[in-house]
């Protein structure tokens, strides 16, 4: 059963006659795998995006890093193909693949030419269903992961992020790096990798988006071939976790001319009814590039940084509002003061009507521009499904942005933003910080 939906957005504020048409078909394969499809036959290739909810957060603490290592090994051989033979086969077909392990999901991305579709899917199936995890490949890729872990230990941004997460989500997978530690990664066995694969890549948590030169019927058959032999169920999802860090400044000494700061506190859930108000507020506060107050005050008016940004981070099991910037060691104290002052100003006063209108115009105008290629659209289709949104979300999303009022933002800013609760983790040799 397929349903076709056409998106026609009318934009009111500046009367932009901008129309993005994305015809999403909801497809169910003969074997029962669901997918969203946009047919686009003008270029002879298809972009396929597959995501499994859960990700590295499904790991036990002593197996930290198993999902990350497992994902990195999917392309390292299947059946009688070893690592190099697999790569050579992939190159000969010009099949482009990406495998990624996140905290809340693992994903597989692929682009394949129409002329090579069957061979490309057969090869990709081997990687997803029956990887070999040869011990030599395991040892080699493990060395690469360990090398990343060593590099992160010398990277100020990574150090700030690690410490922030530790303080924010103690005793939860979010507290530690999904790369694992040298100890946990060294202890991982082949069996751990097969277990991590079955825990994370199962049919009860899969979401698919496809865009390109393929029909609904072809996609259904393809998905049964590609994914049909995955396990029916995976591991249970982790517990919810509340943001636990206290406000203040924590410094990690590091020999560098410029300090890196990561800051934030508890956030807002993606399905909160005030999420859109928070989203618009955050655009004005710190996510809007040159249009944001923080960029204006910290960069444009004072020259204290090259870039500053804030982000709503609504994860599956906990949420934050986060920000980040870097300033010279002798200027970062001033930058932190400015951030706190802007935080308080937004919490106390909200936004002006002009700021609200500018943010709404930007956000509603920019939304259709996201739909500008097969790959980007396939990504959006998967993201929507994982958030539990319906296909008509695309048509109503801008209405939700437009419906946000100054009062909504004042309420959500007063509720969400708390300068006293802001935790700053600073890596460097900052001067003048208490």
């Amino acid at each position: 059963m397929t349903r076709i939906f056409t998106y026609v957005a009318a934009v009111f504020l500046l009367a932009l006659p901008l129309r993005a048409e994305v015809e999403i078909q909801e497809v169910t394969s003969p074997g029962g795998i669901k997918a969203w499809l946009v047919e686009e036959h003008s270029i002879p290739f298809t972009a396929l995006e597959i995501s499994f909810k859960g990700g590295a957060s499904l790991e036990a603490p002593d197996k930290r890093g198993a999902t990350n290592l497992m994902i990195a090994l999917l392309e390292e051989g299947t059946g009688d193909l070893d690592s190099r033979a697999f790569s050579a086969a992939r190159e000969a077909l010009a099949l482009e693949t990406g495998f990624d392990a996140g905290d809340d999901s693992v994903s597989v991305s692929a682009r394949f030419l129409t002329e090579n579709q069957d061979d490309a899917i057969a090869l990709l199936r081997g990687a997803i269903i029956a990887p070999n995890f040869d011990q030599t490949a395991v040892d080699r890729v493990r060395e690469q992961v360990l090398s990343n872990i060593r590099s992160d230990a010398q990277d100020p941004g990574a150090l700030a992020s690690r410490r922030f997460d530790e303080l924010a989500f103690p005793n939860h997978p979010y507290a530690t790096s999904r790369d694992g530690t040298a100890d946990t990664v060294n202890a991982l066995t082949r069996d751990d990798l097969f277990a991590a694969k079955d825990a994370t890549m199962a049919l009860d948590r899969v979401y698919v988006g496809a865009v390109g030169d393929i029909t609904a019927e072809e996609l259904g058959l393809l998905l049964d071939t590609l994914l049909g032999d995955l396990p029916a169920t995976g591991a249970p999802m982790p517990e919810r976790v509340e943001f636990a860090a206290e406000g203040g400044v924590e410094t990690i000494p590091f020999n560098t001319p410029q300090s890196v700061a990561m800051f934030g506190h508890a956030g807002i859930q993606r399905d909160d009814e005030d999420f859109f108000a928070a989203f618009v507020m955050n655009r004005i506060l710190g996510a809007g590039g040159f249009a944001s107050r923080l960029t204006q005050e910290v960069r444009e008016n004072r020259g204290l940084t090259y870039g500053i940004g804030t982000y709503l981070v609504p994860m599956e099991h906990g949420e934050m509002i986060l920000g980040q910037f870097a300033s010279s060691n002798d200027r970062i104290a001033e930058a932190i003061d400015v951030v706190r002052a802007e935080w308080a100003k937004m919490a106390n006063e909200g936004v002006t009507q002009e700021e609200l209108q500018a943010a709404q115009t930007y956000l509603t105008g920019a939304y259709p521009l996201r739909f500008d290629g097969n790959g980007p659209i396939a990504n959006i289709l998967v993201g929507m499904q994982m958030q539990g949104l319906a296909v008509d979300y695309i048509a109503t999303r801008n209405d939700k942005i437009r419906a946000v009022t100054q009062e909504d933002i004042a309420r959500v800013a007063a509720d969400l933003l708390d300068p006293e609760a802001l935790l700053f983790v600073v890596v460097g040799q900052p001067e003048g910080l208490e």
Partner: protein, 444 residues
Amino acid sequence: MLHRILKPLAALACFALPVTAETVTDFTLDNGMEVVVIEDHRAPVVVQMVWYRVGAADEPAGKSGIAHFLEHLLFRGTENLAPGEFSETVAANGGTDNAFTSWDYTAYHQRVASDRLDLMMQMEADRMRNLKIADEDMVIERNVVLEERNQRTDSDPAALFREQRNAAQYLNHPYGIPVIGWRHEIEQLDTQDALDFYQRFYAPNNAILIVAGDVTPDEVRDLAEKHYGPLAPTEGLEARVRPQEPPQLSERRLSLEDPRIGQSYIQRSYLAPERDPGDQETAAALTILAELLGGSPTTSFMAKRLQFDEQIAVYTSAWYSGLSYDDTNFGLAIVPVPGVSLDDAEAAMDRVLAEFIAEGIDADHLDRIKMQSRAAQIYADDDVASLARRYGQALTTGLTLDDIRAWPDLLQAVTPEDVINAAEMVLDRNRAVTGRMIKPELAQ
């Protein structure tokens, strides 16, 4: 004059693929401004890019960083726009904008709904000739640039190492000077430096307009004539002539210790020829050579020998980009596995390079690389913004549209002999810089 030309599809003919969505048109305004239109009507989106044929390699001596600093200042207002108003207006129309500077070019771009192109052109044309810089804004922006240098170079040992290696690569050519500038020179840049550079180089006869997306060439021509057409050219602008390299007769070696790096590695770069108009065959062979030697982390020659067979390296790579106005680089890198010294890693790398030349080319490997090159032409049609970027880069590094069109075929035509000849030509240690990035041993 209006040329309407189909994208290079000859290379795809053997696959009997349909003609793709992309068509490219070009024409020149009376004041000398070149215009290229890349059509893609799948989404109501357009990208405008204005590329200037000027970059860091065209700076006056002692003024390093002025090209990039000026790029920042172009967002600080004109006679008609207040500081910041340019980007605010783009955002208020739902768009995004930015700019970037390299040795050979400086480019400004916006991505908006296609019916906003008129306004984008109006503003971009305005700041081509009407820039206004207040001294107090200049001082703040110079601090922003110094923080940018802090963040992207001084805080990153790998970037510092690249900067040093690059400075050693060029004995005479200004490519040895970093695009962002040396700190002590950035600190001294002022408003007059920026205006001098601006008034000379920001002119329609030194600019290329690229519009990509849901537009027709006729629409673009009408708008371009309306907004850019009235601008006066800079008289007496000649093709760029920079100081060229003398014969390089002696290998340069350098090492940099920094506790901030995760592990030690070796990077080597060789002086190499770039793509020249009507003369791209050597560059095509070097492009294929880099792919064969170190393009893939699993199947390339260096990976096969050094990572898989001998397990000397965790990572190896080779790179080359022919898009450069003057001589470019061919690069190699090796990260040894723990326990293998940098001396042994470098010796193994050199031995494997000699084996590559002695053993000849694996025909299957060459075929796979050519297949990927063909496919890349198809995948590229899905991203019109990066196509626009590639055209701009090629045109500002001295190539013509004919050269861009010829390139895919030239890659397909590269023979094993061409690759070996290119390798023997480029892998000359006398023209190379070998750099060691060293993680200090911990004191016990």
